[in-house]
C-alpha cells in the first residue's frame, strides 16, 4: 500500500503550486474574470511550455504519458487557486476523447497544437432538456455525401467562447435517450452553421449555447465509432468527473484553511471565535468532510482504468462524497466568516460558488447516488 507521490509527481506539484502562488493570486484572477476573454492566453501558453497540457497524452502521441494521478495533481492545485483557464475542457474532455477515440489523422492535426497551447477545445454533451443524461441526445447527424450534417443545440458548453474546436454528441440512429446510435463529431468552431451565444457563469467561467444549424462534417470527423459514441463519452466524462473531484478537494482545502485562520484571529466577545466549542466542532466537521472527500477523489482517480462497471461506481461514489463535502464546507466557510463571507471582495464566496457548481457539473449528488445504486 503506497499513497506517496513519486519524485516526478512531487516536482509537478511544486511547479503547479509555485505557479498558483507567484502568478495566480486572487487579484490576478479577479482581473481575468473581468477581462473580455475570461482567460489569459499568455498563461495558457505557459502551461504548454511547462508541459502541463501534454501530461495525459501518450508519448506516442507526443505527450508525457502521465496517469490519472498526474491529472489529479494538476486539478487539485488548480482548485486551490480557482484557475479558470480551460484545462478541463481542452485537455481532460476534448483531449480525453481524442486520446481514447481519435483517429491518427485527428490526433496528428489537433494534439500538437493543443499541447503547445495554441488550440483550445470544448465539448458539447448537454442539451436544453437532457439534464445529466449523456444518452439524452436530440441533436441529429444525417448522412450526406462524404459525411454528415449536424442539426441541434448544445447547452452550457463550458469554455465554449474560447474554443477553436468542438466535439459534440449527435444521434446517427436510435431514439432519444438510447445509448446506441450516438456519435461524436469533431467540429470547427468557426464552421458554417455553428452559432454561439456566449455568457459568463456564476463561478467565473465562460460558457456558450451552441446552435448547429446544418453543419457539414466529413467522415473523417467522427471521433470513435459511428453509433457507439456513448461508451467513449461516458468514459471521458467519468475521467473529467474524477478531475473536478480533485479540483474540489483543492478548493475545499483552501477554504478550510482560510476559515481555520479566520477563527483563530477574528475576535468577538473578547476572544477568538475559534475558542467557542460550537465553532471548534464545526471546523472539525469541515476537516473530516475534507479528508473524506480527498480519500474518495484519490480512490476514483485510481479506478479510472478499471472495467466500466467498477469505474462507474467508483466515480459516482466519489462524486456523491465530494458533493456532500463541498456543500457543507462551502456553506460553513461562508457562515463562519459572518458578513465578510458574503462579500465579493473576499475569496471565500468565490470558492463557495465554484464548489456549488462542481456539485452540479457532470451530475449532482442525486444523479450519482442513483447511478451508484443502479
Amino acid at each position: 500500500m503506497d499513497f506517496n507521490y513519486s519524485d516526478e509527481q512531487k516536482l509537478l506539484i511544486d511547479s503547479v503550486e509555485r505557479f498558483i502562488q507567484d502568478d495566480y493570486d486572487f487579484d490576478t484572477r479577479r482581473a481575468i474574470l473581468k477581462s473580455e476573454d475570461g482567460f489569459r492566453r499568455d498563461l495558457w501558453q505557459k502551461f504548454g511550455e511547462l508541459g502541463w497540457l501534454a501530461v495525459p497524452f501518450s508519448e506516442e502521441d507526443g505527450g508525457l504519458g502521465g496517469t490519472a494521478v498526474e491529472t489529479m495533481i494538476i486539478m487539485e492545485c488548480f482548485g486551490r487557486g480557482l484557475v479558470v483557464e480551460p484545462y478541463l475542457s481542452t485537455v481532460v474532455l476534448a483531449g480525453g476523447l481524442l486520446r481514447h477515440g481519435g483517429t491518427t489523422g485527428q490526433k496528428e492535426t489537433v494534439l500538437p497544437e493543443l499541447m503547445a497551447g495554441t488550440l483550445l477545445a470544448a465539448v458539447g454533451y448537454a442539451e436544453p432538456t437532457s439534464r445529466f443524461n449523456l444518452a439524452d441526445v436530440s441533436t441529429t447527424a444525417e448522412k450526406a455525401a462524404g459525411g454528415y450534417v449536424l442539426k441541434g443545440r448544445k447547452s452550457v458548453v463550458l469554455h465554449g467562447p474560447m474554443a477553436d474546436k468542438l466535439i459534440v454528441s449527435a444521434r446517427t440512429s436510435g431514439g432519444r435517450r438510447d445509448e446506441a446510435g450516438i456519435t461524436l463529431f469533431l467540429v470547427d468552431a468557426g464552421a458554417a452553421g455553428v452559432s454561439r451565444q456566449d455568457y459568463p457563469t456564476v463561478d467565473g467561467l465562460r460558457a456558450s449555447e451552441i446552435v448547429l444549424d446544418g453543419v457539414s462534417v466529413g467522415e473523417g470527423d467522427v471521433v470513435g465509432v459511428v453509433g457507439e459514441g456513448f461508451a467513449l463519452l461516458e468514459r471521458v466524462i467519468d475521467e473529467a468527473t474524477a478531475a473536478i473531484c480533485a479540483e474540489a478537494v483543492g478548493a475545499m482545502e483552501t477554504l478550510h484553511k482560510a476559515t481555520l485562520e479566520y477563527a483563530r484571529t477574528r475576535v468577538q466577545f473578547g476572544q477568538p471565535i475559534g475558542r467557542f466549542q460550537v465553532i471548534q466542532h464545526r471546523l472539525v466537521d469541515m476537516y473530516m468532510a475534507y479528508e473524506q472527500a480527498k480519500s474518495m477523489a484519490i480512490m476514483a482517480s485510481l479506478k479510472l482504468d478499471a472495467a466500466p462497471e467498477e469505474r462507474r461506481r467508483a466515480v459516482s461514489a466519489a462524486k456523491v462524497q465530494i458533493g456532500k463535502s463541498a456543500r457543507f464546507i462551502g456553506q460553513q466557510a461562508v457562515q463562519l466568516h459572518g458578513g465578510m463571507g458574503m462579500t465579493d471582495e473576499l475569496n471565500v464566496g468565490h470558492y463557495f460558488k465554484r464548489l456549488t457548481m462542481i456539485e452540479t457539473l457532470f451530475g449532482n449528488t442525486d444523479f450519482h447516488l442513483k447511478r451508484y445504486a443502479a
Partner: protein, 397 residues
C-alpha cells in the same frame, strides 16, 4: 383548542385577498414574480398603497396608526401578502425604529418621525454592526461626544442594508466609555445627508448591492435626536431586536417559495418526465414542506402566546433559525432543479436590463439567489448566536 377561522376571519381573508387583487400594481408583480432585483420605488409604491388603506403597520398600537387587528387577522394578512408575492415590508422604519419611537421617544419626536415612517416618505437604515462588532454588538466603538446642543459622531458602521437609499439612520453610538460597555450606548437618529456621512457599497458574492459601509466624520447631530436617555441605547436596541426576530419565520413567503419550486419541478425534464416525478426530488420537497408545517404551527403557538400579552420571548429564536434554514433549503432545491442552467449568470437581466436570460426563466436566478440567501443565517443575530440565546435563556444552561 381550535385553530379554525371564524366566519369573521374568513370574511376578513376575502377582504384582504380582493384588496390585493385590485391594488397590487401589475408591473411590480411582474418584477417580483420574475425574481428581479427589487427597486426602491417598488417598495415605496406598494407600502404607500397599504398606508392609504390604513394597513401598513398592523403591529403598531391603534393610536399610532396600527390596525387593531387580532392575532389571527394579522396572521391572515401576512399569509395573503406572501401568497400574492407582494414586496416585503421594509423593516427598518415600520418594524424597527417605529416601535422604538412610539415606545421610548418624546411626544415631539413621535410627531416628528412617525408620520414619515407610516407614509414611507422617509427611508430608514439600521446602524448597528461595525467592522469589529458583529455578534458582539455591545463592543461597538462609534463615538458620540456631546458638545453643547449637539453630538459629534465619529466612527463607522458596516453591512448597512439599503443605506444607499436611506434618508435617515438609527444608530447605536458610544456616549460613555467609562462604564460597563452595555451601559455606555445611546440610540441616535440622524439625517444621512448630514455633512460627514459617506456611504460606500459592498457588493455581495451574488453580484448584488444591498449592503454598505457608512463612515461618520465629525457628523453633527442635534441632541433632540437622542431617543430616551443617554446610556439606555442597549435596552432599546434589544427591544428592537425582539421585534426584528418576530416575522423572521417568513412562513408565508416560504410557502410561496415551495409552490414555485413545484412549478419548476413540473416543467424541468428529467429522463423525459417532469422532475417532480423523480422520487428523490419529490421526497426532498415533501420533507421541506413538512419542516415548514412544523414551523408554521410553532409560529402560531408563539403568536397565540403573544396575543395573550406574553411578548415575544427567546423562543422566537426558534423561528429565526428554522425559518432561515427553510428559506435556504428552498434555494438549494431550486439550484438542483435548474441542472446545468444553474451555471448561467444572468446578472444584467436580474438587475432589470431588458435582455433575454439563458435557460428557463423560472430558474434563471437560482444560483445567485442561493448564494444570497446564505446571509439569512448570518444577519439579525447569527444562527449560532440564536442557539446561544436558547441555551441560556430557555434551557438555563
Amino acid at each position: 383548542m381550535d385553530l379554525s377561522f371564524s366566519a369573521e376571519d374568513l370574511a376578513f381573508q376575502r377582504e384582504v385577498r380582493s384588496f390585493i387583487a385590485e391594488n397590487y400594481p401589475a408591473d411590480i408583480k411582474a418584477r417580483f414574480d420574475a425574481g428581479l432585483e427589487p427597486r426602491k420605488e417598488d417598495f415605496v409604491r406598494w407600502q404607500k398603497i397599504l398606508f392609504e388603506k390604513g394597513w401598513v403597520a398592523p403591529a403598531w398600537p391603534k393610536e399610532y396608526g396600527g390596525t387593531g387587528w387580532t392575532a389571527t387577522q394579522k396572521y391572515i394578512f401576512q399569509e395573503e401578502l406572501g401568497a400574492a408575492n407582494t414586496p416585503g415590508i421594509i423593516p427598518f422604519g415600520l418594524s424597527m425604529v417605529g416601535p422604538v419611537i412610539y415606545t421610548f421617544a418624546t411626544e415631539e419626536q413621535k410627531k416628528r418621525f412617525l408620520p414619515g415612517i407610516l407614509s414611507s416618505d422617509v427611508w430608514w437604515c439600521q446602524g448597528y454592526s461595525e467592522p469589529g462588532s458583529g455578534s458582539d454588538l455591545a463592543s461597538l466603538k462609534t463615538k458620540a461626544v456631546r458638545q453643547g446642543d449637539k453630538y459629534i459622531v465619529n466612527g463607522s458602521k458596516t453591512w448597512t442594508t439599503m443605506a444607499q437609499w436611506a434618508d435617515w439612520i438609527f444608530c447605536l453610538v458610544r456616549t460613555d466609555s467609562s462604564v460597563k460597555q452595555q451601559e455606555g450606548i445611546s440610540f441616535l437618529l440622524f439625517d444621512m445627508k448630514s455633512p460627514g456621512v459617506t456611504v460606500r457599497p459592498i457588493i455581495t458574492m451574488d453580484g448584488g448591492h444591498e449592503v454598505n459601509e457608512c463612515f461618520f466624520d465629525n457628523v453633527e447631530v442635534p441632541v433632540e435626536n437622542l431617543i430616551g436617555q443617554e446610556g439606555m441605547g442597549w435596552t432599546y436596541a434589544k427591544f428592537l431586536l425582539g421585534h426584528e426576530r418576530s416575522g423572521i419565520a417568513a412562513v408565508a413567503r416560504s410557502k410561496r417559495g415551495i409552490a414555485k419550486l413545484k412549478q419548476i419541478a413540473n416543467t424541468e425534464q428529467s429522463d423525459g418526465s417532469p422532475l417532480i416525478e423523480d422520487p428523490d426530488y419529490r421526497r426532498k420537497l415533501a420533507e421541506l414542506e413538512i419542516d415548514l408545517t412544523a414551523l408554521e404551527y410553532t409560529e402560531l403557538r408563539t403568536l397565540a402566546r403573544e396575543s395573550q400579552g406574553k411578548g415575544p420571548g427567546p423562543e422566537s429564536s426558534i423561528l429565526k433559525i428554522k425559518g432561515t434554514e427553510i428559506q435556504q433549503a428552498i434555494t438549494e432545491l431550486a439550484v438542483e432543479a435548474a441542472g446545468y442552467y444553474a451555471f448561467a449568470y444572468n446578472r444584467r437581466a436580474m438587475d432589470g436590463a431588458n435582455e433575454p436570460v439563458v435557460g428557463p426563466a423560472a430558474t434563471a436566478f437560482a444560483a445567485p439567489s442561493y448564494f444570497n440567501m446564505r446571509k439569512t443565517s448570518i444577519y439579525g443575530g447569527s444562527n449560532e448566536i440564536q442557539k446561544n440565546i436558547i441555551a441560556k435563556m430557555v434551557l438555563g444552561l
